[in-house]
């Protein structure tokens, strides 16, 4: 029994690392731009395809593809922000929601158009590699994904804490008018924040590729989880997104095992509603 519990915690944590990386991008975008990016999952999907094609056509290892995918998705983020998000920064919430929903519809179908509805996966030497110690099994690609996710999140947190641009992003999230009066170019900073958010989810996509399939609607699956994580952790707390991601990973592992794999999503959506109603600021959010 104890082994099972430990195994479930490990499974959950490994999964949670990726969730955290997806969610941290969503949190950053929401915290700074006050826009919920409903197309977030589609950027994950696109990066999975990017990683897939880099592997298929050029033989680039998915982990190595991060070096291409991260800067590429940062640039995509900058462009999308400028063209689509910028015009709706001061629009009513419903219009903001629908622009990103529309974007998500477009991207999903662009993928369907070019790459059909097939499930695609990459076969690497380590795809099914498993580390076994004292009755526990640790999937190698999941472990790598987890460690890489933590590394990227750490770099992001240090960047936000230490660099001028990072501080400007945080300042903008806390007090927009003062940021403007301190000489921060707020629109430029919005763009960078959006770019970083997309780069994070891009990285997550590349890291998912060895353990999951790419298909046009794969993003929808993950974006709902990311919403749960963001609300659980507190929509303006990046550390909250990290811990929220790990918690949801563990919840998923346990409810999948003890209840039913079909109910695991129902379980975390119930958690989601309870958090929203009883603690709308989340576990680590600020009022």
């Amino acid at each position: 029994m104890l082994t099972i519990v430990i195994q479930l915690i490990i499974n959950g944590l490994l999964l949670g690392g990726i969730y955290a990386l997806i969610s941290i991008g969503l949190t950053l975008i929401f915290g700074v731009l006050e826009i919920i990016n409903f197309a977030h999952g589609e950027f994950l999907m696109l990066s999975m395809y990017a990683s897939y094609w880099l592997f298929q056509l050029l033989g680039v290892d998915p982990y190595l593809s991060l070096l291409v995918v991260i800067p590429m998705f940062f640039l995509i983020g900058l462009v999308v922000q400028r063209i689509i998000i910028q015009p709706i920064i001061h629009a009513p919430p419903l219009n903001q929601i629908f622009v990103t929903v529309g974007l998500s519809l477009i991207l999903q179908n662009v993928a369907l158009f070019f790459w059909k509805a097939d499930y695609r996966t990459v076969r690497t030497a380590y795809s099914t590699l498993c580390l076994k110690t004292s009755g526990l099994m640790i999937s190698f690609p999941r472990l790598v994904a987890f460690l890489l996710a933590l590394a990227i999140i750490s770099i992001l947190l240090i960047f936000l804490k230490r660099t001028y641009t990072g501080k400007a992003i945080r300042a903008l999230a806390q007090e927009r008018r003062a940021a403007m009066l301190m000489g921060i170019n707020i629109y430029g900073t919005y763009r960078i924040a959006f770019g970083i958010g997309i780069a994070c989810v891009g990285a997550a996509g590349a890291m998912l590729m060895p353990i999951y399939y790419a298909f046009p609607t794969v993003g929808a699956l993950f974006v709902l989880i990311a919403f749960v994580v963001v609300v659980l952790g507190g929509y303006n707390s990046l550390v909250g997104a990290l811990i929220g991601g790990l918690i949801i990973g563990i919840v998923e592992a346990f409810s999948g095992f003890f209840l039913s794999p079909h109910l695991k999503e129902a379980v975390y959506f119930v958690i989601f509603i309870l958090i929203l109603v009883f603690r709308p600021t989340g576990l680590f959010g600020r009022g």
Partner: protein
């Protein structure tokens, strides 16, 4: 005399474009289902009615009340599953199952509505998504009941009581009937007190509360009505397709389609969602047919692009600009001149209706001795900061009491404590001898005849001037006609009658301030709290407002006024109290106050007179 006037009016009505054109449209709708003899177009027409009905139902809560639900699929699915399961398991007629499903959906909505309405826009939307997702997963999981992802197949036994028909035409008329019913309900709501309340709370919840609107209850009722029709549409869907599964009736794309139709058509208008359905549904179907055949996904790329562009560049939807076009179109139809003449004769009596000044009491008279209002040792802290410290005062019936003090002295906090926007940490408030301290939601305070204005004016921007004041009037009268008469009187009184039909957002700042006064006056307050009504106005505008305030006072209404413009408050007030750092540091007549050393120090700096 009166009789003949009316009959003449109805007779000539038939020849007015305003009347016969919509009638012609209605007739067109009625024949639409039997025009095509082609299953593809029959299906298209059914889908347009179906989506129109759903979008209009969503619009009641999402458009009128401004509560963005992205989880309406939950109620749709409840409706579909309830009637289907009752039919399959107990052979209950889907007509009855439809009512059962609607009832169940309403119960569920009442359960989740109240907690969720406390959430701000984005989070309300997310919570509704999550709720629908939970139901989807439960429906997929609970195989014993729902057969999970396999779905439920309804055997085709065409009989009226089975809600199944061989031909598509009955379905088309049922969908049309449902759509027309929802349009009718929307129209009635839009023109009733309830509709005014919904739109006012969407525009500004606090201002609506201050005018006596029970905002939480109104939102819940709107949700219930919306959900009722959504669930009914769910049953219709099940009976039309004879197959349901969790991934189609509990689907996020479904939830998103409804507000989308409403936005593109015109959010918060009666007819907008229908227009949205008439444009987007065929577009969707045709794109699917043309482009979808070329390559999967292409149609959605175009559809999504249309959507994004429309929402960015036409955020107000089609109904907005269609209205101007429609009105000028009507004017060019035969009979238009006739209608103009009649409208004039109808509207003129209203203008001449006299404003009565019921109470013409002199405030300086005997009544002034009895205290109308009393505050005892009010305290309020925000975090560590004492905003109001041990403040006590009385307001006598009929007087004008001024409240002054430097910025941040706690003046507005005192107003918020009185009007129920904040509750005091300690202290007592009495009005007409009744304890008010526990009277919490602001709408209850309004009903007790205490009115207020806000420091920064908060008109309901997307309502006309008349409608703004009607929201206030509805706190005393139920019927729209009475509220309109009442509001017209008030507008005449404050001098805004000529702007009755302008949008509040188009007024100058001075007129907006007058409007806010009028809105509060329409609630027939006995005590009216005015928060800086002349700040930012030029001398002429200030004079006008001071004139109105004096006239209000002459009607016997007691006034409590915060003001920074000293000239105004000194000339208006009978007495003045002074706050500084949350404490009362002075009280007296204007003359006494202007000589008070502590007051001058507080305002101008200690050594000013030294």
């Amino acid at each position: 005399m009166k009789m003949s006037f009316i009959s003449r009016k109805t007779a000539s009505n038939l020849f007015r474009p305003k009347f016969y054109f919509p009638l012609a449209l209605l007739l067109l709708l009625l024949v639409l289902p039997i025009l095509p003899r082609n299953p593809f177009y029959e299906d298209l027409i059914i889908m347009i009615f179906f989506w129109g009905a759903l979008a209009a139902a969503w619009n009641l809560v999402g458009g009128f009340a401004g509560q963005i639900s992205l989880g309406h699929t939950a109620f749709f699915g409840i409706g579909a599953y309830t009637s289907t399961l009752l039919y399959l398991k107990f052979s209950l007629s889907p007509w009855l199952g439809m009512l059962a499903g609607a009832g169940l959906a309403v119960l569920v909505a009442m359960g989740i509505g109240s907690p969720c309405f406390r959430l701000k826009s984005h989070f309300f939307a997310l919570a509704t998504i999550a709720f629908a997702e939970v139901l989807r997963h439960v429906a997929s999981y609970w195989r014993g009941l729902t057969q999970g992802g396999v779905g439920l197949l309804i055997p085709f036994k065409p009989r009226i009581e089975n809600f199944m028909f061989r031909s598509k035409i009955p379905y088309a008329y049922i969908a049309l009937g449902l759509m027309l019913l929802i349009i009718l309900v929307s129209y009635i709501i839009r023109n009733s007190r309830f509709g005014f309340y919904l739109i006012s709370l969407r525009e500004d919840q606090d201002a609506a509360e201050s005018l006596g609107v029970k905002t939480s209850r109104c939102k819940l009722i709107a949700l219930v009505i919306s959900v009722l029709f959504t669930a009914i549409a769910g049953t219709f869907y099940a009976q039309y397709l004879l197959f349901i599964d969790p991934d189609t009736v509990f689907s996020l794309p479904f939830s998103i389609e409804l507000p989308l139709l409403a936005i593109i058509g015109g959010l918060g208008t009666v007819i907008g969602p229908i227009i949205g359905a008439f444009i987007l549904t065929p577009l969707d179907v045709l794109l699917r047919g043309w482009l979808g055949a070329i390559s999967a996904g292409l149609n959605f790329i175009v559809y999504g692009t249309v959507l994004v562009v429309a929402v960015i560049y036409f955020p107000r939807g089609i109904a907005g600009w269609l209205r101007t076009w429609y009105e000028s179109f009507l004017r060019r139809l035969p009979g238009a001149k006739l209608s103009l003449a009649i409208e004039k004769t109808v509207s003129s009596p209203l203008l001449t209706s006299e404003t009565s000044d019921p109470e013409d009491s002199d405030p300086e008279d005997e009544e002034i001795k009895s205290p109308l209002f009393e505050a005892q040792s009010l305290n309020k802290h925000f975090g560590g900061l004492a905003a109001v410290k041990d403040v006590s005062f009385q307001i006598k019936k009929g007087e004008i009491l001024g409240l002054i003090g430097p910025n941040g002295a706690g003046k507005t906090t005192v107003f918020n404590l009185i009007t129920g926007f904040l509750s005091p940490d300690s202290g007592k408030i009495e009005f007409k001898g009744e304890a008010m301290t526990a009277v919490k939601p602001p709408h209850k305070v309004c009903i007790k005849h205490i009115g207020r204005t806000f420091q920064l004016v908060r008109p309901f921007n997307n309502m006309t001037v008349l409608e703004n004041v009607m929201v206030g009037a509805f706190s005393r009268v139920k019927r729209t006609k009475e509220a309109r008469e009442e509001a017209t009187k008030v507008l005449d009184f404050i001098g805004l009658l000529e702007h009755s039909h302008s949008l509040a957002s188009s007024l100058t700042i001075a007129d907006r301030k007058k409007l806010e006064l009028g809105r509060a006056l329409a609630t027939r307050p006995e005590l009216l709290l005015l928060d800086e009504v002349v700040a930012g106005l030029n001398p002429r505008e200030t004079e006008a407002i001071i004139g109105i305030i004096k006239a209000i006072s002459n009607q016997g209404i007691t006034l409590f006024i915060i003001e920074h413009v000293m000239k105004a408050i000194m000339t208006l007030s009978h007495r003045i109290i002074v706050l500084h750092h949350g404490e009362k540091i002075g009280e007296g007549t204007p003359a006494e106050i202007s000589r008070d050393r502590r007051v001058i120090d507080a305002y101008l700096g200690e050594e000013y007179l030294a």
